[in-house]
């Protein structure tokens, strides 16, 4: 065992131990230490209580409050330790220029341009072929990937499940008869059999409103569409597709709850205010011999918001 093996700690250079930069920022460090100790004790109590609260499955707010208090006080204490009891500084550091000198830059550029670039330049055919191959691979990889994510729209955006003679049913599947609604009533209806399907809920949903006791014509050419004052409009807003379930019976408005487009139910749901660009499509309905409300046909235009393929009807 020789002392030659023994290493001593290297000494501090630059500042004497009693340099003001190395003193705590606090004027009375002992007091601050006491305060921080109290904060830490509070923090310890908090996290311990958190453990206990979690163990006994206390109410969520108790678990959260104990955890929050524990972390908060530990954090405040630690910050205070750093701010008041550690070397106050300020210290300074040189900022070295990031840029290298001209020679280094040139060498780097030369390596890229001359060494590599030269090789490629000489074999343009190979480079082109490689690039082409990778490009095709990229396109091939992207196209089937994207394509396989879902089906093509095809005609599905243009039609709903309403057919000639479809019975209108409510959300529980009950057929709606003509005595069901009084003037001022609204009901969400679906084509029979679709009321519990995603498509029935999202696309076929229709509001049935009774605005009068007499046959009601909303627009020219729709004379038979409002038997006994019943009118039916698509419930899918033409703005962004929210369900237009808000009916104000004195104003005779259907309002979209999302962006407040307002549709006048007496004139074919022409938008009266708000961002919706088009009227809600009206469903032609009739009342059959048994008094049930049924569709004359599908909507005469796509329901819901606009899209590129949508033709002007």
């Amino acid at each position: 065992m020789s002392d030659a093996e023994h290493r001593t700690p290297v000494s501090l250079q630059g500042l004497p131990q009693d340099d003001p930069h190395l003193q705590p920022a606090a004027k009375n460090p002992e007091t601050v230490q006491g305060v921080i100790a109290v904060l830490f004790v509070l923090g310890i109590l908090g996290v311990a209580a958190f453990g206990a609260a979690y163990w006994v499955n206390a109410k969520p707010w108790i678990i959260g409050a104990t955890m929050g208090i524990g972390l908060f006080f530990l954090g405040i204490g630690l910050v205070a330790w750093g701010k008041y009891l550690m070397p106050r500084g300020p210290f300074v550091e040189e900022r070295h220029t990031l840029a290298n000198n001209e020679a280094d830059r040139d060498a780097f550029a030369a390596a890229i341009v001359e060494r590599g670039g030269g090789v490629v330049k000489r074999r343009k055919l190979l480079a082109g072929l490689l690039g082409g191959g990778l490009g095709i691979f990229g396109i091939v990889a992207i196209f089937p990937l994207l394509r396989s994510l879902g089906p093509l729209p095809k005609g599905t955006l243009f039609h709903t499940d309403w057919r000639k003679g479809s019975y209108a049913v409510d959300s529980s599947g009950r057929r709606i008869s003509q005595g069901e609604l009084t003037v001022g009533s609204i009901l969400t209806i679906y084509p029979e059999g679709k009321q519990n399907t995603d498509r029935g809920q999202a696309v076929d949903q229709t509001v049935l409103i009774r605005i009068s006791n007499e046959n009601f014509t909303t627009q020219k050419g729709r004379e038979s569409w409002g038997p006994k004052g019943y009118v039916a409009y698509s419930k899918v807003c033409t703005h962004l597709g929210c369900p237009v379930g808000l009916y104000e019976q004195e104003l005779q408005l259907l309002v979209c709850p999302c962006h407040q487009s307002m549709f006048n139910v007496t004139n074919g749901a022409i938008p009266q205010f708000g961002p919706a660009p088009r009227p809600l499509p009206q469903l032609p309905i009739y009342i059959d011999a048994d008094g049930f409300i049924r569709a004359q046909d599908d909507y005469n235009q796509p329901v819901g918001p606009g899209f590129w393929e949508r033709t002007n009807v």
């Binding site: 030659a4 250079q13 630059g14 969520p60 530990l74 300020p90 550091e93 498509r199 999202a202 407040q260």
Partner: protein
């Protein structure tokens, strides 16, 4: 420092370990393999400026940490499936209702899992705080000109982080499949659908079919929990790496130049403060999660496409888009057998596209207009760059007005005025307020430039009666924290090799570096 009189056994031990004990030995072992001693010490000595506004970004960093931790907890219980189940559980108003597994598992998570509701609420609060602090941090960077050369790349990373965070916030908000978030997904579908040419295809591919599709919840889940978090983590790493590499900016002041950084060393001062701050952010989030209820999905019920609630709004960071959609006029183009829904396309696709791209290219634009191609490490005071400051304030007020426009119904209800009136007023204000705020800000900046100690705290005047009986008023000394450090900055004291000769003579081996 050295203590020679050590018992033999301990001496033997110390000899084996070196003068710094077990830690020293461990670091030595590490250095043998990785060569970290030099770089590690440089890192420990790194100087961070102390200005408070430089910590705003840390709020975002630490709320992201909280998001990761709470998010992992949530994935253990959440079931990302749109399959229909009948809910049976402690919340009676939903008992027997048809809900998706995603919704049912979120309700179970809130009611039956120990600490589950707290974790959910902390996760949601942390997300709101995450994006909020990012915007505040971004505003600080913008108004002080910290994005200028050489930091344009880091600005770009920051903007990307913001977009990723907003996107992930929306996806996460959608996962529980409750009535309110389902409405948001419906709107997102329609926005995709509005894109010319590809819109309906894009919508079908993202949703796996016509709305509502069955693929959304599982797809959103994996994007929300894996893909975007990985992207954010990578970008945060790059953000911080560039920060360390380029060193922090600093405000101009005593002894501060373009060639130095004045502040506190990484270890231990900055590390204590920043670790403490991590705990504080965690504590505040936990307290919010404990006492402030957020997104009570059991009260909203499950989403089905024909159910709707009035007053549904997205989370606040999407509010500006919702506001834009509300106030934009109903301009739709139809012709040649095609429809272009500008009333959706412009506010929800083109406008955000312009907004974020403008943010991306701002550093280049400013460099082009000012012709300033210098490297800057000292920050601007906002008043000294009136045009930039005015542009920033205008953008912020514009966004704020759009955000307010997303609650037209709440405003109309509160002031008991017509909803239609409020909407028309908002259409005007969205243009008018930003238009006013540009010249106003510019003017205020110009005025402030003329005042020397604007923004400084005034001190008391002390009136003194002199021996002659004359009264003299004089200002009292400045507040301690206003004068800055009374000491001159000094290089960080560093442990270097001991004085060479005489120690060698005593036979002590010097440390190889």
């Amino acid at each position: 420092m050295t203590d020679v009189a050590i018992p033999t056994n301990k001496r033997a031990q110390q000899r084996a370990e070196g003068p710094y004990g077990k830690v020293g030995k461990m670091l030595g072992e590490l250095d043998d393999r990785l060569g970290v001693a030099k770089g590690g010490r440089t890192f420990m000595d790194k100087i961070f400026p102390d200005h408070w506004s430089f910590m705003l970004g840390e709020i975002a960093l630490y709320s992201f940490v909280i998001l990761l931790v709470t998010g992992v907890f949530l994935t253990l219980y959440f079931v990302p499936s749109s399959a229909t189940v009948i809910y049976h559980g402690p919340y009676k108003p939903l008992d027997g209702q048809r809900v998706t597994e995603a919704f049912a598992s979120t309700v179970n998570l809130s009611f039956s899992v120990r600490g589950g509701l707290l974790m959910r609420q902390m996760h949601h609060w942390a997300a709101d705080i995450f994006i909020g602090s990012m915007i505040v941090h971004m505003a600080r960077i913008f108004f002080t000109g910290a994005f200028r050369k050489p930091r344009e790349l880091n600005w770009t990373i920051g903007v990307t982080l913001l977009i990723m965070a907003i996107l992930n916030g929306f996806l996460g908000y959608s996962l529980p499949d409750d009535l309110v978030s389902g409405t948001g997904i419906r709107i997102a579908y329609s926005i995709l659908e509005s894109i010319p040419l590809a819109g309906s295809y894009l919508a079908f591919w993202v949703f796996g079919g016509n709305f509502p599709g069955t693929a959304v919840i599982p797809r959103f889940f994996i994007i929300h929990c894996l893909i975007i978090p990985l992207v954010i983590m990578g970008l945060v790493g790059a953000h911080l790496f560039l920060l360390v590499r380029q060193k922090h900016t600093q405000f101009p002041g005593k002894d501060r130049t373009e060639k130095n950084v004045v502040g506190s060393p990484m270890y231990p001062v900055f590390m204590a403060k920043t670790t403490g701050f991590l705990f504080i952010v965690g504590g505040v989030t936990a307290l919010l999660g404990a006492f402030a209820q957020i997104n009570p999905i059991w009260q909203f019920g499950p989403y089905t496409a024909s159910r709707i609630s009035y007053a549904v709004q997205p989370d606040w960071y999407m509010g500006w888009l919702d506001g834009a959609l509300r106030i934009f006029p109903s301009w739709e183009f139809t012709g040649w057998g095609h429809t272009i829904p500008f009333e959706v396309l412009i506010p929800a696709v083109i406008f955000p596209g312009i907004a974020f791209n403008l943010a991306y290219v701002w550093p280049l634009l400013e460099r082009k207009f000012t012709g300033d191609n210098e490297i800057h490490h000292l920050l601007d005071r906002p008043r000294n760059r009136p045009k930039r400051t005015a542009a920033g304030v205008t953008t912020l007020t514009f966004m704020a007005m759009l955000f307010i426009a997303s609650s037209t119904d709440v405003l109309a209800n509160f002031f008991h005025v017509s909803l239609n009136t409020v909407l028309i007023v908002m259409r005007v204000l969205v243009i008018a307020i930003p238009a006013i705020s540009y010249p106003l800000t510019w003017k205020i900046c110009k005025e402030l430039q003329g005042v020397d100690d604007a923004g400084k705290r005034k001190t008391h005047n002390i009136v003194v009666r002199t021996a002659e009986g004359e009264y003299v008023a004089m200002p009292s000394p400045a507040y301690g924290e206003d004068v800055g450090h009374e000491l001159d900055p000094t290089p960080i004291p560093t442990y270097i090799e001991p004085e060479p000769e005489e120690v060698r003579e005593s036979g002590v081996r010097t440390v190889e570096r």
